[in-house]
Amino acid sequence: MNGFNIYRAYAIARKEVMHVLRDPFTLTLALGLPVMLVTFFGYAIDYEVKNISLAVLDRDNGPAARRLKEIFSSSGYFHPVDAVAGTGPIGMLDSGRASAALFIAPDFSKDIKSGGSVKAQFVLDGSDNSKAAALMGYLPGIQRAAQARLTGQAPPELISAETRFLYNPELNSRWFTVPGLAAIIIGLLSILLTAMTVAREWENGSMELLLSTPVRPLEIIVGKLAPYGALVLAGVFFVYVVSRLVFGVPFEGSHLLYLAACLLFVTAALSQGLLISVLVRQQQVAMQLGMITGLLPSMLLSGFIFPVESMPKFFRYFTMLLPPRWFMAAARGITLKGAGLHELAVPFLGLGLLSLGMLTLAMVKFKTDLE
């Protein structure tokens, strides 16, 4: 047997390229889908909770109660609506017409005037946790503003904090979502495309045909994956252009390092796809496994929305098996923090080891199946 021959791998790659070019639907989607989805969801995803309907039951109807409602509405987070007669504020929470309710007691204005300490009841819809937690976070600020306006004097700020947000001073959600979205979409497309293309060869029986030729397994694999790698990297480039030009995401770090991270990540995702297709050999099952091991974990466990550090200990280790977790850390680090290789050594190592591991597993399985 002779060693790896780049020309044979090239021949396989050329065949694969022709195959893709003949199918303009797949080609446009593979190139266009990442940009489309990043643009759309870059606009759509916003973590700042605002414009929340607040059902108000005002039993006081005095000037202070009116002012309190104004303060809620001018905060921009709440949109006060008077409670509907009959159902009441709790009924509005039940039916989802409001997410929070404010009860103002009959003597509210009088008590404020006489100067004691006054209470207003605030009820939250806990069936949506993230919203409820965000609304609770807004309360101290509203309380301060309300007290200043209602009693005419600001509460004494004996101790306070002055917060400085580094890397993203205005807490622009886009800067945070867009690099993450790109990671998810690119990773998924790579997994799905490779899983399907290799599984197809098995399903058609053309894999046996290929293997009976002098082409070696490694050459087949490199030849089949390289075109998809190139396709996905072209997608990365478009996504980069969109996130810089449309969303103004800053790029503090080194482009070369970013390219290296993308290459590693795409390799990891392609290896995952390859492993899946070697394991199952049917396109439908391959798609199913690709979606199960790719789509949901990369959206939910990679730190895209739910920070990995907030998970229970076991899952903090478990997520180390997911390439998108490492790429997410690397991409955010490079774009927003300007991190260098020194800070990102762990994510790079993680990506490298995962690619190597999956590639080896796939090759071993491939070879044992041949013998």
């Binding site: 199918d23 797949t26 989607l29 889908l33 989805l37 759309f40 759509a44 973590y47 909770v49 709790i90 039916s95 989802g96 004691g116 300490s117 006054v118 207003a120 009841q121 605030f122 009820v123 806990g126 069936s127 946790n129 993230s130 409820a132 937690a133 965000a134 976070g137 309380q143 009693t151 509460p155 004494p156 004996l158 101790i159 306070s160 002055e162 947000f165 580094l166 993203n168 807490l171 945070f176 197809r200 439908q284 099952v285 798609m287 199913q288 979606m291 199960i292 789509l295 959206m299 939910l300 466990l301 739910f306 920070p307 550090e309 907030s310 998970m311 076991f314 899952f315 923090k337 800070e343």
Partner: protein, 366 residues
């Protein structure tokens, strides 16, 4: 229902369930995924690495800092004397740094300037927002404690949380993940079904069988609707047993919601499989539906936050209605107004999607 059709449906079911891999993926994977996501995910931000900087002997500041660590949200970061606070954040060792005022906190507060500095790594915007909210509440509580009535505000909110008083994330997330899993399974099952038949050449056999177009379509969809419903029942049971997610509303509401949703997704999947020319295209089509459907469903972040134009698109997402329905039925007891309005929307979509699938299907057959 005639015998041929019944036999056809049975054949489809047997064919799908015969494969061990398929059985595992259909019934094992959803339960495993529900368990993993239910345990791992939390909307609460925890384990924030916090470093504190102060001059030695600043007793009041140390008490405030102690309150941070006692809250359970923050972990202590140790550093060497003389390190730069910014460097701690740059290197990723700390997520936030709390810095005491120069002359000590008690001294500054007495002069009306008790300002602590909080540096936050905002490369993760959600986390940064949570850190600031935690810090504010801890500091205002500390202020009230240190200065008694002088530091306490005159207006207080008495806060109550309904439906999920302990604010457990799993109550909120598990119903969402359930909807997502049912959506995923039904689309995967159907998006390739006809495409594969055509690729393998078995499609002609079906067409030449003594079955009308409607019967073929029913034979190709009813089994998957049944499987989807079985899956929905499975995840609801798993959510109830494993995570104690309550089912406060009537079961028939849940069953109707699942039926309307599964009919919609199976029709969408079938539509994709009639349009796609190869299984690869079918897979891309399925991805094109699933990815937006999941992101716009309100499972991960509220739909109300989105810009108006995009909310309009979210109203076309069947998964959004289904997630609203299961959350409302399971957690809130299934308010009838919410139930009928969302079910109505879902049913309309089911009819539309089934109609589209039927139309395309006839074209494909002829």
């Amino acid at each position: 229902m005639n015998r041929t059709l019944r036999a056809f449906i049975r054949k489809e079911l047997v064919q799908t369930l015969r494969d061990v891999k398929m059985r595992v993926l259909l019934f094992g994977a959803p339960v495993i995924q529900l368990t993993i996501f239910g345990l791992a995910l939390s909307t609460e931000i925890k384990n924030i690495n916090l470093a504190v900087f102060s001059r030695p002997g600043d007793a009041m500041f140390e008490r405030v800092a102690e309150n941070f660590y006692a809250s359970g949200w923050f972990d202590r970061v140790t550093y060497v004397q003389g390190e730069d606070p910014f460097e701690l954040i740059d290197s990723g060792r700390a997520d936030a740094v709390l810095i005491a005022p120069k002359g000590g906190l008690a001294w500054s507060a007495a002069r009306g300037d008790g300002k602590l500095q909080l540096l936050v790594d905002a490369s993760n915007a959600t986390k940064a927002r949570a850190v600031e909210a935690y810090a504010k509440s801890i500091i205002s509580a500390a202020s009230a404690r240190e200065y008694g009535a002088r530091g306490a505000p005159a207006l207080n909110f008495d806060v109550r949380v309904l439906y999920n008083p302990a604010m457990e994330s799993s109550m909120f997330l598990v119903p969402g993940v359930m909807g997502m899993l049912v959506c995923l399974i039904t689309i995967i099952l159907t998006a390739m079904s006809l495409t594969r038949e055509r690729e393998m050449g078995t499609f002609e056999t079906i067409v030449s069988a003594p079955l009308s177009n409607t019967e073929i379509l029913l034979g190709k969809t009813v089994p998957y609707i049944l499987l989807g419903l079985a899956n929905a029942a499975l995840v609801v049971t798993a959510g109830y047993l494993l995570f104690g997610v309550p089912v406060r509303g009537p079961l028939w509401e849940l069953a109707l919601a699942a039926l309307a949703f599964v009919v919609t997704t199976v029709s969408v999947g079938t539509f994709i499989s009639t349009v796609a020319k190869s299984q690869q295209q079918a897979m891309l089509g399925g991805f094109m539906f699933l990815f937006p459907a999941i992101l716009m469903s309100g499972i991960m972040y509220p739909v109300e936050n989105m810009p108006k134009a995009i909310i309009a698109v979210a109203y076309m997402d069947p998964l959004m209605y289904f997630v609203r329905l299961i959350r409302n039925i399971m957690l809130k007891g299934g308010d009838l107004h919410v139930f009928w309005s969302n079910l109505g929307a879902l049913a309309l979509m089911a009819v539309f999607a089934a109609g589209m699938a039927y139309k395309r299907f006839r074209q494909t057959l002829n």
